[in-house]
Structures are given as structure tokens and as C-alpha cells.
Symmetry: C2
Subunit: 339 residues, 2 copies
């Protein structure tokens, strides 16, 4: 018999909760029979949403949680005080092994804090990085770290590189992924203090395919599979990706609607164009895992719709099947102890 | 009589030197009678290029410089050893007041080092930032600093904000420009150590219109006129802007050529589209000034063509007319001394 994976889903988190979250959960269980989803949040609200859909009853559960953490709340305080919030309850399920994974579109800060405080780090992992997949010309790259842990040290970045490499190889299926560090030039002597300190350490790692520095210009061209950086820089890259893509697509549309001739052209070209632009749509790729925890936590965009929620849930299956956390323990924590 | 501005131009620097550089210089002097260009570099090579054009002889001079600094060379060594290179000779002209400005598409590192070592900082300015204009939905913003001076301190960033504000107000013509600091969230308590330290200092500056933090997502939307950050982050933003724009434009073209129907559409829509995309072409805006020096140094893209060279030369006129360096001395250096 096939092993079943249980995913706790924050039904109250994100701009489109609970509607799109519940819809995404339904789509996930209707796609795969080996997934059980536990919708965490206000029971009555969720039950009401569930009435809209048909699904196998043994694949969907509700776990009541009366409180909701808002995006504007201070993450540490919110996690400490709102013990009956969907985020705290869902994370506790992962901690207690009542769920294999927790997916949330809610407050990034609260998810990051909760991951560390409630689910807890794998022993030996210094910092759990948030690692979204970003679209490139040739496929996707893992951007690690985009979390809230700013002012990182070089030892953190080395662990990010190794965890990211394991994730890309086993979850995304890229053999021997190319690992690069974000820098302001290609030469080894370039960079700020952190990069200069980290570069030689990455070069020494025998278990990763370190290809050197990557300038931000090369990221969209698919210059590396695992893009290592500290969280401030990662956040800037991720947010600029979002902002610039939407701006440029807007500029393109505006350009094509500026004359009658171009309007006709736009009408003819748009269906094909939309298909291609879809490959640059981050929601295709589900959410960002918070790596290095005793369990899996996945953060999806605050603006997630059903499709992204569904993809984030399905992503958890590969993570469990590939036994990523044991690979992290074995390849990183044990090998570091031996050094 | 109109005042004439003398601009020394590095005829040997950049991927398209000397052809496009000389062409750009000719276009600049043929546009404005009040510009004199001194082409710095190998005399015979430049003279040969000049034969292709007609221009007023009193507007173009050649200053011989036998050596060329290559992009791959170590900047500090190159500036120290190649005394007869176009960069060193051109910068010495600014230092000796034989030229008002120096424009180069050559090695960024050498231009940044030369600016500090040869031209020299305005007394009281801690670091000269490199400040390119980047296109946005609503116009342009000044991204300050994108130089090679990584690991900045908060006092540097405060000076960047004030110099950037003066530049945008007087050279670009934005009244009371909005100044923001790049951050990973909008709240004052967000950010890394540098940003947290700088934020309250910027809030206290009475001579700038500080509007708080800006997330990278808002930069392309034109969320601020002066975008303050340290050089590593600035470099990442600038390079990602370039890389992502070219990738997305490529994706758009590919999408429009994917079927016969969309090809016909593309043929009709492309002229209008190109016109709109032009507003997102960085070469429209000339080069990036290196602010805070005893003279003006402008770095243009290594890949600059004639148009960008021309625009960079013309940009120097406004800089001089508006007496930017005296404004920097008066508003920043003197007011800091008084504090």
C-alpha cells in the first residue's frame, strides 16, 4: 500500500483565505489519492467553504484553531501569545508528528519564527533558510536564503549551499546542481567581507558542485541552479523579480495597445504570449520551503490562489518521499561533525 | 557669451571603443555648440576615426595617451602603473582643471579608484558613490550607491541620500525628491544592522524628503526618486534590472513568434512595442556620475554605443551649470561641520 502524506494547511493565512486555500487543498487531494490535508483554522468558516466541493471524505480533516495571526503583528509576540492561532496549531501538529508538513500563506515573519521556535531546527543546523524557486530562461533556480535572518555568517551560507544542493537534486530533480554565490563580480577577490570569507569555504566543499560567483545579471539567464546569498540580498532579488516582471509585462501590454494596428497585432499574438509568460509565473512552482527544520514548513505567497496552494501541498510529497531531512542530517550535520 | 564646458572622454574604454565613443563625441558637439570634447587615447587611432565625420574643429581635441587599462586588470595596480593610460590622463585633466568632466566606458574598478585617488574627494565626503539612473514606470530613479565600495557605514549612506537628493533635484529636475532606503519590509524595525542604524539618521535629516523604507518590489513602480543602499545591494539591483529586462523581452519575443497567428500579430504590434520598451532602455539616460569628487567623473556602460556616450557628455553640462559640487560642499559638508 502506498504511504499517505499528511499536510496541515493554514486555512486562515494569506490575502485569499479561506476561499482559495480550501479550494487549493481540494484540488490537491483530488489530484493525488496519497495526500491527506488537515485544514487548520476556524472550524465553522472552513466547513462552510468545504460545502462547495466534492472530495473523498478521508482526505480532508478540519483542525479547529480560533485565532488568526495578522501580517502586521510582531512575529515573536504573535507566536508567543496566540497559542490557538492556525500557524501555532499547525506547527504543533508537525512537531507532534501529527502532520508531515505545514503549508501557510500567512505572515512570513510568524512562519519563520514559528518554524524555529515550535518545529525546531535539525540539531547542528545553525539557521533554517527560506528557499523559493525562481523562474529563469532555462527552468528554475533555488534562491537561498530569502528569510528574515539577516546579517548571516559564512558558516550559515555554507549550510545554505549544501541544503539547497540536496533540495534541487532530490526534489526538483537537477543532477549535480550548479551552486553559485551572489557577488558583484566574477573574480574570487571581489565582494563584501561576507562573500570573501564564504567563497573559499564553498570551494572546499566536496559534496557540492560550486561554480563560483554569480552576478545578479546572470540569475534570470539560469546561470546557476542554487543561488546562495544572505537573506537581505535574497529578499531584494526575490522582490525585484516580482516587481520588475509585473512592470515589464505592463509596459509590454501598454505598448501593444498604443495604436489600432498594434491592437490587432496584440489580439493575434496575446494567446501565445500568455503561454510563454506563464513560464515566468512564480505560482507555478508552489511555495518556498523553510529548510533544516525537524519537519517540513512551506511558505507560499501571501497572494496565493488555489493553484499555488495545490502545488505547495503536492511539493510536500516529493520532500517526504525523498527523505530530505535525513539527507540533510546525514550529509551536512554528520559530515560537519567528522571534519 | 555662453560658457563652454570641456569634457575629457576616454576614447579607448568600453566594448565599442574607439568607434562608438568617437561617434558619440561628434554627436554631442554637433548637438550643442557650448561643448568641447577632448578625446583621450591613442592619437593616431582617434585621428583615423575622426576622419569619418564633419564637425566644428574648435569643439574636438585629441589628448594623446599611449596605454589602455583592460577590464580584467586589478584597478589599483592599473591606476598606479599605467600613468599614460586614457583613464589616468583623462582624470589628471580634471584634477588640473584642464577639463570640467571625464566620461569613460572603461573598467569600472579603474574609474572608481582613479576618481578617488586622482581626482580626489570633496573634503568631508567619506565615500564617492556611483549613482546610475534606472528606468521606472513613472520616469527614472537614482540608485545610490552601485560602486565598488562595499561594507558601507551608516554615515556613508546618509551622505549618499543627501548627494542623491541634490542631484535629482538639480540635474534631473525632480522637485523635493522622495528619498527611501532599500529594506526588506516597510516598518522601521525591519532590516539588517546597517539599515536599522541608518534609518533614524535619515529621519533626522531636515534637508531631504525621507519617505522611509522601500522594498525592492516597489522600485520598478517608481516608489521613490532616490533609492539609497550600500554598494553590494545596489549592484545586485542594477545588474538584476539589466538581466531581467533582457530576459523578459526575449521571452516576450519568443512567445510572439511561437505560432503563425502570433507572428502576424507580432509584425503588427512590434513597432509600437519597441517604442514603449525604449522607455525602459537604460542607455537613454547617459552614464552614472561618481558623486562627491573635486570634479565630475561619469561612468557609462561598458557596452555603450554612440547614443549613451553622447547623452553622458551632455549630462555633464547640467551638472556644471547647476554647480552641483558647490551645492554638495555647502549643503552637506558645511552643514555636517555645523552639527
Amino acid at each position: 500500500m502506498q504511504e499517505v502524506i499528511r499536510v496541515a494547511v493554514d486555512a486562515m493565512g494569506g490575502d485569499n483565505a479561506p476561499g482559495e486555500i480550501v479550494k487549493g487543498a481540494i484540488e490537491a487531494v483530488n489530484t493525488r489519492r496519497d495526500i491527506q490535508v488537515v485544514l487548520v483554522g476556524q472550524q465553522e468558516v472552513i466547513a462552510e467553504e468545504l460545502k462547495k466541493y466534492t472530495y473523498e471524505k478521508d482526505q480532508i480533516e478540519i483542525k479547529n484553531a480560533t485565532e488568526v495571526i495578522e501580517t502586521a503583528e510582531h512575529p515573536v509576540n504573535a507566536i508567543r501569545k496566540k497559542k490557538d492561532s492556525s500557524i501555532v496549531v499547525g506547527m504543533n501538529m508537525v512537531k507532534q508528528k501529527e502532520a508531515d508538513a505545514f503549508v501557510s500563506a500567512g505572515s512570513s515573519g510568524a512562519v519563520l519564527v514559528g518554524g524555529q521556535v515550535i518545529v525546531g531546527r535539525i540539531r547542528g543546523i545553525e539557521r533554517p533558510p527560506l528557499a523559493p524557486l525562481i523562474p529563469t530562461e532555462t527552468g528554475v533556480s533555488l534562491l537561498i536564503d530569502c528569510g528574515a535572518n539577516v546579517d548571516a555568517r559564512s558558516s550559515h551560507l555554507v549550510q545554505f549551499a549544501r541544503m539547497g544542493s540536496i533540495y534541487m537534486e532530490n526534489v526538483v530533480g537537477i543532477k549535480n546542481p550548479r551552486v553559485a554565490i551572489v557577488n558583484i563580480g566574477a573574480e574570487e577577490e571581489k565582494g563584501n567581507a561576507l562573500v570573501k570569507e564564504t567563497y573559499p569555504l564553498l570551494k572546499e566543499c566536496k559534496d557540492i558542485n560550486f561554480v563560483g560567483s554569480i552576478e545578479a545579471r546572470e540569475i534570470p539567464h539560469g546561470g546557476a541552479d542554487v543561488i546562495v546569498c544572505e537573506a537581505f540580498v535574497g529578499n531584494v532579488i526575490l522582490k525585484l523579480y516580482e516587481g520588475l516582471s509585473s512592470t515589464l509585462i505592463g509596459v509590454v501590454k501598454q505598448g501593444m495597445l498604443s495604436s489600432l494596428k498594434s491592437k490587432i497585432g496584440a489580439a493575434l499574438a496575446l494567446p501565445a504570449l500568455k503561454k510563454t509568460l506563464k513560464s515566468f509565473d512564480a505560482s507555478q512552482y508552489g511555495g518556498a520551503p523553510l529548510l533544516g527544520l525537524n519537519g517540513l514548513v512551506v511558505k507560499t505567497h501571501g497572494s496565493s490562489k488555489a493553484k499555488e496552494v495545490k502545488n505547495s501541498i503536492i511539493q510536500c510529497v516529493t520532500f517526504k518521499e525523498q527523505d530530505i531531512n535525513n539527507k540533510i542530517k546525514k550529509n551536512i550535520v554528520i559530515s560537519e561533525t567528522e571534519e
